[in-house]
Symmetry: C2
Subunit: 161 residues, 2 copies
């Protein structure tokens, strides 16, 4: 469409390694003049002090939060009812040790189950979830080389999308 | 190598939409019996109350934290000195509005500058950063369809890796 409009979203992050395994991370959104102080750490098994969530916990929360935010924002834009929204998800990675005593990693499968309460019919709900996937900045940044399975549970019926 | 060993990392997340745009997200790491309570929200411009960072801030922190954690963990495993580690990064996405009043998103470019203080030579530092990229669960989950640029600044010299 000739009249589609584009917009840019730019975040910046400055991080410093402190303590044993902790990272203090200042994330800023310059256009909104907003800054967020975040941190990661590791548990004792990985040499840390457990003062903050590990990076993979932040990642899981980020992806869930992004998708849910777009489902809510797009439901309004598409004039759909949304009476309840919950999500349960599982993130599976594999590591493989190498001869140089480190390890290489790969994603195996992500599974996201979207529980949605809405008076709209299944067809419209599928349109909503499909749009939210395409509107989720994080999901669109993920590799296409491993399965990311989405299921929506709407009025008690589970559908893969 | 026949004697390489694999291991699985599985995180789970359960999230519920509350308030205007807030999401409460319980992330668990069942094998470690650990649970982390996280949240996302949006600012007023996007209909939220600003009670928590937006999902993209968590994402940026997660990727920075994961890469830094592996640089530190792998420096030990590779017997390298590491006297200082900081990271500055920029995450650029684009949105494009659609005729159905929503928008589609895509990553444009991520840039990560790794500032490292180490008495080891450049060749070993490049080995370390290369290994950490392959060992970063989050980076390995990202799309290969857009540029993710890495630079290491070591002893005042910037090198693209």
């Amino acid at each position: 469409m000739a009249d589609n409009q584009t917009f840019e979203i730019i975040f910046e992050a400055n991080a410093v390694a402190v303590g044993k395994m902790r990272n203090d991370i200042e994330v800023s959104w310059p256009r909104m003049q907003e800054t967020f102080s975040l941190a990661t750490d590791e548990g004792a098994f990985h040499g840390g002090d457990g003062t903050a969530p590990p990076p993979l916990a932040l990642f899981a929360a980020a992806l869930c939060g992004c998708l849910m935010t777009q489902i809510r924002a797009f439901a309004k834009r598409m004039r759909l009812s949304l009476d309840g929204l919950q999500l349960s998800s599982k993130f599976h990675w594999q590591g493989e040790t190498t001869p140089s005593n480190v390890y290489e990693t790969q994603p195996i499968e992500f599974e996201i189950i979207i529980h949605i309460e809405s008076s709209n019919d299944q067809e419209r709900i599928i349109e909503l979830i499909t749009a939210a996937k395409l509107g989720c900045f994080i999901e669109q940044s993920l590799s296409k080389d491993f399965p990311i399975k989405h299921y929506v549970v709407h009025n008690g019926e589970s559908i893969e999308i």
